[in-house]
Amino acid sequence: MKFIAEINIMPQKALLDPQGKAVTGSMKNIGLPGITNVRIGKHITLEVDAATEADARQHVDDACKKLLANLIMETYDFTIHPSA
């Protein structure tokens, strides 16, 4: 069975996010001073073949841990649903 995973990878809360900080600072330049605390991560989608949703979930989790996220610096979460 084919599943689609949507993965969000974000910089760890305890760590500086230089990119988010610079973008936050520029919000007042474009006239949106009310926007604060921008944090910038990655969004990854992928397809996974697995017998069950639990298996698929396990594969995606392994992929995140081993490659997609750098756990020293990043956290991840994902949603999974059967491919239409």
Binding site: P18, A22, V23, S26
Partner: protein, 231 residues
């Protein structure tokens, strides 16, 4: 000619540009701070290389909204001469003063080295004294320098003679091997349709001082200055 070099937070080739214009070519040169709201009567606005706003999000994307850029855009729309190098080129594209975009290098790495470029036309202020096809040795230093635009834009760049420089080999041949970043058709520099806004990824200001043993970049500056004299 009175030259204004814009300094954005994160610009780092601004003083190199000042040194080139002032010490190498004797131009009256001043720096313009990104928070300024006045171009101080400059005849030429130069957007230097560097990492404006850290180049976070996309290179040049945040700088485009600096207060000074609103004046630069207005200046350009009235025919004022604007020249952007490296990050300056990226900012000009993000500001839509030049068509197209600069993407991550094809090999995904920052790359700093001497490359060769050849002028494709002498019909521009920065190439007027350069013989088209001659290879000039000019350094590059960028991670996002792969020029890209869609087919209609490319067609109009060609139709209007807006492609100023292409990457080439030492003999002037335009080859895939000589393309350091995967730029579309080896494009290294362009101008706008009105021919008053210029952008290029290679750094001519890094090749003007005889003490550094490469002065091929002087031709671009000499061309710019001769234009000013003839005006």
């Amino acid at each position: 000619m009175k030259v204004g070099v814009v300094i954005f937070p994160g610009s780092n080739c601004d003083q190199d540009a000042v040194y080139a214009f002032q010490n190498q070519f004797g131009c009256e040169t001043l720096t313009l701070w990104h928070k300024d709201n006045d171009l101080q009567g400059c005849d030429l606005i130069f957007l230097p290389g560097g990492f404006s706003y850290g180049d976070y999000l996309r290179s040049g994307a945040i700088a485009r909204f600096s207060p000074i850029m609103q004046h630069v855009i207005e200046f350009a729309s009235k025919g004022g001469v604007v020249f952007g190098v490296c990050n300056g080129f990226q900012i000009l594209c993000e500001s839509h003063l030049l068509p197209g975009a600069l993407l991550h290098n094809a090999h995904q790495k920052f790359n700093c080295k001497n490359v060769f470029i050849s002028a494709q036309t002498s019909n521009s202020a920065i190439t007027s004294t350069i013989i088209p096809g001659t290879a000039l040795k000019i350094p590059i230093a960028h991670g996002e320098g792969k020029y890209y635009c869609d087919d209609p834009t490319l067609a109009s760049l060609k139709a209007n003679d807006q492609i100023l420089f292409r990457y080439c080999d030492e003999q002037g041949n335009i080859t895939d091997e000589a393309n350091p970043n995967g730029s579309l058709e080896n494009i290294a520099g362009i101008c706008n349709e009105k021919r008053n806004v210029f952008g290029m990824m290679p750094h001519p200001e890094r090749a003007v001082d005889a003490d550094l043993y490469n002065t091929d970049g002087r031709l671009l500056f000499e061309s710019l200055l001769s234009m000013a004299v003839s005006r």
